[in-house]
Amino acid sequence: MAVPVINVIKAFDATQGTTFTFSYTGNQVVGIQFVISRADTLEEVYRNVTDAEFLRAGTVPLKLQGIIPSDAGLENSRKYSMKLRVIDVYRNPTDWSAASYFTCYETPTLTFKDLESGDKIKAQSYAATVVYHQADNEKLQSYWFNLYDEALNVLSTSKTFYDVTEVGGVVTLRYAFTNLSDDTTYYIRCQGTTIHGMSCDSSPIQINVDYKFYNDFQVLYLSNDHVNGRIEYQGNFKIIWPDEYYDEFEYENSYIHLEDKELNYNRGFVIENDFILWLKGKVPYKNNTFLTLYNDAYSVTVESVVYDGYIKFKMTANNGLNNYVLYSQSFEEFADYLEDFVWVIRRVGHVYQFAVRTTTDFLSDVLVSYEKPDAEYVKTGIAWVNGDEASVIRVSKANIITSDTKPNKVNVPTIWIGGDS
């Protein structure tokens, strides 16, 4: 009488079980019995049905397959043998099949390195690095990559790679997803097969492609040269990092903590002449200089000045001969880092403006010039020094319009103007 033949059982994770198939030529099969034993000790580990149950098999025709359940008592990292017999519709049991051997391994993993679902990709290609891991050192045989659209439709599949290299015990796989479109969500996935046929899968990982697309030429200048039949292009990259490494700092709620640290930007930019600057942040209720802009000789600084339960802010432009000083409105004492300010410095020619406001409210506005400013700047609360462009002018009440309380300290030859209007 024919005996069944167990088809090759691929390695599987003992905690997940598997389905196997077998071949049999004979009458319709109505029952199967299989026994799994440890390959080294021949100790029986699992029997799907007892002999009696096997012989009492019903009359329902069965497929030529069996299921090894996840609770079969198998352990990963072990090799097992299995034999199988069947009973046909006429109640004739077969002899046991030849033993078939298989190994249980922990499910291998494929993990995208330095990538989390939903990460932003800033280029039109993404060089993926995937790390393969299998606890029992089961080797990876082949792998491939898929690119999906947002609805998980396959857009492309790479070729199947067989060149698995291991460096320092780590198997690293690399692949570049190219031609990604801007402002688009994709899913990427890596799948593979081990040398014993186990499947591994990274599962689809979402990436959001958001690279810099500019149409108004702020970063990439493009122009059609009609006469010479060519396209002109020019980068306008502004790459400005401080001397300090960004990882040295703490960030919280989009604020950088610089209580006892500082940022020094010394390359990648130049403020040639006129400018307007906005700085938003919080400072302690202390006397501190927290913003300094400078060239090789001179500087513009903003500092906090504390006095009598109040704080005000002082902007100083120093040219080596004079301090050009502007004071802000006064604010009542507050707990450290409680108030949120926006400091604004605007320079037009020889004229500086300095304003400090809370996040929502504009609180003060002081302007100083030796010429009368344009009408648009002359509003309530604006002060200016009136004079011509002579190197020296005599200052008197007649040629200055201002009102304020006096700061706590005035240095010669500092000119100070501040005010509540």
Partner: protein
């Protein structure tokens, strides 16, 4: 009040030396919690009451939100790590359904200083291999360890007059209105007759399918200042001799026309220079054969149009 009536030297006097500080190249920020910093040079657009701009502009000098970064630049890449740049181009629209890019420039920056790298990226360049009547997306892509760190791109519409022919080093054009290109589409088929069938059987030579043709035009110097053609004999003859030398330098070329046609081609022997009604109205005529796809990275590489290292090819 502190204002008195004293002259210079008194504590209440004020020397009106200009107090502005120019060419600021350093910025120090310290002793606080900071949410954003923005500097813009457009003081006409922004006044002291203007809200903080949210977007980068041409006039933005620095801008940053300190959101897990200390970058105040438009690109938060570390230029010290950038070792090279690619410039890519792709045509938008139906002619390029797969949105394929062609790399038109590769530059190794690995041995350059920070400032030299920035200068190299921001230097003025041009692409002569553009097709007329097309819309292109161009992208500048800094590479870190050979991998694309970030993509910056924009679009531009391409159009021009006349005929241009170019190789890697030179571009020549004629904008006169009587320039033209005639073409022939070459495919190979043969026909065999059989003894028992009335009609011949056609046999197709697989993928052979290319253009050839002739181009004619007055390739004369053009004064860009006056926008006039120069027919002065000495200037014209020197110019046309150099043009004939270019046509016969055996280098593959790109031939393109104002109507949008473009070919990667080889100029076949032998170009001619003939008078058109009067002696100094010369018309140069040359024949050509298409030898590849002008948008193929491989074809343009082997034609020495672009010199892009093979590891960066995408096709």
């Amino acid at each position: 009040m502190f204002l008195g009536t004293s002259l210079v030297g008194d504590s209440s006097s004020y020397t009106i030396t200009p107090s502005y500080v120019d060419n600021i190249r350093h910025l120090n920020l310290a002793r606080g919690f900071f949410d954003s910093l923005t500097v813009n040079e457009d003081v006409n657009k922004y006044n002291i009451n203007s809200p903080i701009p949210k977007e980068w502009e041409v006039t933005t000098i620095m801008m940053g939100d300190f959101d897990e970064t200390t970058s105040l630049g438009v690109l938060d890449i570390d230029l010290d790590l950038v070792d090279s740049i690619l410039v890519k181009r792709r045509e938008l629209g139906e002619n390029n359904p797969d949105h394929d890019w062609v790399i038109i420039e590769y530059q190794d920056l690995s041995d350059l200083s920070y400032e030299e790298k920035l200068e190299a990226i921001n230097s003025f360049k041009y692409d002569t291999t553009n097709r007329s009547l097309a819309t292109y997306e161009y992208a500048i892509i800094p590479l870190v360890n050979g991998e694309e760190a970030i993509t910056v791109s924009g679009t531009v519409k391409s159009s021009f007059d006349g005929i241009f022919i170019l190789d890697k080093d030179e571009i020549w054009g004629t904008i006169v209105t009587d320039a033209f290109i005639n073409t022939t589409r070459n495919v190979e088929k043969s026909y065999q007759t059989t003894l028992n069938y009335r009609y011949p059987v056609s046999t197709t030579a697989a993928v052979i399918n290319y253009d050839s043709g002739s181009a004619t035009g007055e390739f004369v110097p053009f004064d860009t200042e006056t926008c006039e053609l120069i027919y002065e004999d000495k200037i014209r003859t020197d110019y046309q001799k150099r043009f004939m030398d270019f046509l016969t330098n055996y280098k593959p070329k790109i031939l393109k026309s104002l109507d949008g046609r473009i070919w990667l081609c080889d100029v076949s022997p032998s170009p001619s220079d003939n008078a058109n009604s009067i002696y100094n109205r010369r018309q140069v005529t040359f024949n050509w054969v298409e030898i590849g796809d002008y948008e193929s990275q491989r074809d343009t590489y082997f034609s020495k149009i672009y010199d892009i290292p093979t590891q960066y090819w995408e096709d």
